[in-house]
Amino acid sequence: MRTSTIQTTLLATALCASAGVQVVLGSSTTSWLAPPESPTNLVANDLPWDGGGTVQIDWTASATPEDQLKGYEILAHELSVTPREETIETDEQADQAAAEQTESVLEGEGIAPEDARRQAELSTGSFAPAPADPSEWTSLGIVPATQTDYQATGLDKAGVYVFKIRAIGLEGEFSAPTAASGEIRPVAAFFNGRKLPLLVTLMLIASAVFAFIVLARRGMPMRIRKIAGLAAVDEAVGRATEMGRSILYINGIQDMDDLQTVAGVTVLGHVAKTAAEYDAKIEVPTARSLVMTAARESVQSSYFSAGRPDAYNPDLIYYVTDEQFGFVAYVSGMMTREKPAACFYMGSFFAESLILAETGNSVGAIQIAGTANPSQLPFFVAACDYTLIGEEFFAASAYLSGQPDQLGSLKGQDVGKILVGIVIIIGVTLATLQAITGSDSLEAAVNYLVNVILGS
């Protein structure tokens, strides 16, 4: 009996000890191993009035206190694709993203967009694409524990998605996920409401342009300041005639889908008409075949309207090469050999602008340039006799034609500038006051201006 008492005592002691240990371990075991409570009331809806691909997800926070959670993970499953298709999509997106990034860096250095794109494709094609995780549920992201909403963006507009949320504990343990949401299609709305501020701005500027065109047609005089570069066209063409040398006209190195090239072809028409009247030879090497065709049409019409159809020679408007530096190598060589008396550079240029302008200067030509690429303007301003800066270049057509309709549109542009000026003053004032006072309402106003109005 004594022995059994001792045994019982020992057993009881052991049990108490283990119970005590369990109690001691219990609280930390619960925090280590027990997952947090799941969030509830998951609601997912297609975001209204957008361009598609966005879903608004809301939920009720987990019963586990916030300070015991790391955050919430949002999971999505696209019902309409297989994991293999998803992998292919992800690989293609990764390649596309890589090429776009390289392209933008190269363009910033002055490489023409076509070449930048080619170099980017060649450099990224050799890398292994990002491995995609073909699991059924994809993690869209993790948000802090204080947040109970999320906007899933970049989804496939034609896809069908379901979503789940799970909480993450401090040690990285996951809660059970919520039940899957209903099937959501992140479709586009009829009108992309986020672009409303842009539409309003466009309407205002368009209305101003229309209004001034109408006023101009009714006879209101439109005074446009003198643009020295355009006023010098006659002088340049006359000089070429006197010296018996040709006029060189470069229409930029981009294609007809660039508005600068279209503006360049417009100015070419006027220069060609003046050249036809003065009986000067005008040579137009082009960097794109379509530009060659458009330039030929323009020059031919100019010669016809000047009454010199016989003097038109289509072989003087020719295609050289699409390649940026190949084109400028040809033109530089041609300028050095043939020594044109007047050089016009009207269009979109990149890094080759200074080479052209300096070569033109070395042969003693009078040079008139016009471009809307801000990075090339300093080179033209430094090296050419006259430069049309940005909007002066776009105004060239109106200025040279003198038509009331076109002059009216220039006035309408000025209204746009006033509008921009007002927005800048309001924005700067708000941002400055906010920085000084730290006011929350001013901060909200600044954020609205930046993200909604300017971000549309």
């Binding site: 508005l259 006027h270 809307a372 940005g390 057509s397």
Partner: protein
Amino acid sequence: MQILTRSIPLFITTVAGIVMILSAFFPYTSDWGKFAGQFFNILAAFAFVLGGGNLLKLHLKKISDQRPGWAYSGVVLVCFIVTLFVGLMKIGAYPNPTYPSVHFGGETQGSGSMFWWFYEYAFKPLTSTMFAMLAFYVASAAFRAFRAKNFEAILLLGTAFIVLLGRTFAGVLATGWIPPDSAFSGLRLENLSVYVMQVFNTAGTRAIMIGIALGIASTSMKILLGIDRSFLGSGD
């Protein structure tokens, strides 16, 4: 004839332009915009043939007329034909890993092909050489054109000196005596050049870009509405 050369092009321009504008605001029409844009790509592809034909014609004529420099035309033609042949025939291209037995299945520009070789060892060095020439032309432009003719030009030259020197060891040497943590540290050339680029240069560039954007908007509107038809020929 006016219908073909004037009315139809204007109609196409207006319709395509309106479709592109609509596609920016009405998501339902976003594919229409892409569809319209693809026509340009198709046209540009056909235009390659036009351009290539024009190139051949011009250079062959120069060779046959034996005009000065006709040998260079010969070089152009030889390079043109060889590159075209190598690219079309995919000379030296590795077989496609997925379909190795398919003829002409390899990638034209894939590493190791002859086309790739032309690109890496002929085209890229030549392009880099032309790009590098900019350094020389900048120097000659600086000597010839940067004259202090008026107050604005003097300001320009001053900032040019600050930025040129501030980005080199010379700038650090010139103003290194100004303590870096003093109130005048902003006058150190390297700090001053950063300030010039960050404030003055950015402000000027932004102003020009705003003007350009408005110019583009106005010109586009004139073209879409057919007010400016000069790109189709002289404007009437």
